[in-house]
């Protein structure tokens, strides 16, 4: 993918479908977990320079809850599950039934952190097994890591591999939201899939589109 012109709008649609299938499975898993209807938006797929990627969740300084894992195997890349603090608080409060839980502040309860970690495991697992079924590719995710910090600091971790080849990144971005929340209040939880540049060929080949 050093030559970006090889990626056509048809290819972008294929990547969009990957985001669609992956996030749909993850949204269902989340819905089961919380006993609450979870909806998703149409995935956005775009090639963006790194500094633009940093603005995706409301700016690189915005504090978010981030789950990160690397994909190894027949296709490689980075994956993030990013939640705004307020949304993460709602999810975890519901999950551990503790209304006082809060991701703000230095002393976050171990129980809440471990619930978040587990939620990250389950959701990324659903996303990736759907991706693996769809493409027929063997994908081995690393154990997800959890961080509550600035969006830019979290997401730049996933750009290290890509940055050795490119100054741009292909972002497959799918937002999820709770049905009962006001849609107008800006940023939602999002799945960000960032395939390594060398991995596009294997994805497209597996799907018979090259």
């Amino acid at each position: 993918m050093n030559d970006n012109s090889k990626i056509t709008s048809f290819h972008l649609d294929v990547l969009k479908e990957i985001g669609n299938i992956g996030a749909a499975h993850a949204a269902t898993a989340l819905s089961d977990l919380l006993g609450k209807k979870i909806d998703m938006k149409v995935p956005k797929v775009e090639m963006v320079p790194f500094h633009e990627m940093m603005e995706l969740a409301g700016g690189s300084e915005t504090v978010v809850v981030g789950v990160y894992l690397r994909l190894e195997g027949e296709t490689q890349g980075s994956m993030f599950f990013i939640l705004p603090i307020e949304q993460a608080n709602r999810f975890i409060r519901r999950l551990i039934q503790d209304e006082t839980f809060d991701f703000n502040g230095p002393d976050i309860s171990e129980l809440g952190l471990s619930a978040m970690q587990e939620m990250g495991n389950i959701l990324s697992g659903s996303y990736l097994s759907a991706l693996s079924d769809f493409t027929g590719l063997n994908i081995f995710p690393t154990v997800p890591g959890l961080s509550v910090d600035m969006f830019g600091a979290i997401v730049s971790t996933g750009l290290i591999e890509i940055s050795q080849v490119s100054d741009q990144v292909m972002v497959i971005n799918t937002s999820i939201f709770e049905e009962d929340q006001d849609l107008s209040n800006a940023v939602h939880g999002q799945f960000l899939l960032l395939p390594d540049p060398d991995s596009f060929d294997s994805i497209f080949k597996a799907l018979g589109v090259m």
């Binding site: 690393t142 961080s147 600091a153 290290i160």
Partner: protein, 167 residues
């Protein structure tokens, strides 16, 4: 031309660099494993900042590179640009921040240790150019936003849990 009364903050994005003169300040946000390198000449009230992502340009797997992305080429280019703007190379000093490890992984893949490697590469490059590091805030597990004021030579560092500190 901007009015000289208006203080402006120049923002530097990831893998980018820029230069400011008093009364303006220069800032980069959301440093994780990346390192923010500030070079300044106190006598000229000028400072430059580069937001380094990777330790060494030999890691690049393509021919045309963005020099600001790498510690070696980024620092080299920043020195040249500061010189062109009137800074004296022998008076340049450095303050650096960043190089955190945002996630703890069991995997020992090299990319997971990128923070410490970036810091090491920055230090080597500064040493090679005879630039002393006046202050640093590196390592740890927290993201940082930094802002440098060439008028005071202070670097302010904000983290999520520790608030703002100055070095």
């Amino acid at each position: 031309m901007q009015s000289s009364n208006v203080d402006k903050t120049v923002k530097v994005g990831i893998a980018q660099m820029d230069i400011v003169k008093t009364p303006n300040t220069i800032r980069t946000s959301g440093l994780g494993s990346c390192v923010g390198v500030v070079l300044y000449d106190e006598t000229k009230n000028i400072a430059g900042l580069v937001h380094v992502m990777l330790p060494d340009s030999s890691l690049a797997r393509k021919e045309s590179i963005n020099v600001a992305k790498f510690a070696d080429t980024g620092i080299e280019e920043l020195i040249q640009r500061l010189k062109r703007e009137g800074a004296h190379p022998f008076r340049l000093k450095a303050k650096i921040a960043g190089g955190a490890q945002m996630f703890k992984f069991t995997s020992d893949k090299n990319s997971m240790r990128i923070g410490p490697r970036n810091v090491e590469a920055v230090k080597n490059m500064l040493k090679k150019n005879g630039i002393s590091i006046v202050a640093e805030d590196t390592g740890g597990n927290s993201g940082r936003t930094i802002e440098f004021d060439p008028a005071t030579s202070k670097l302010s560092i904000r983290t999520v849990n520790q608030g703002v500190t100055e070095i």
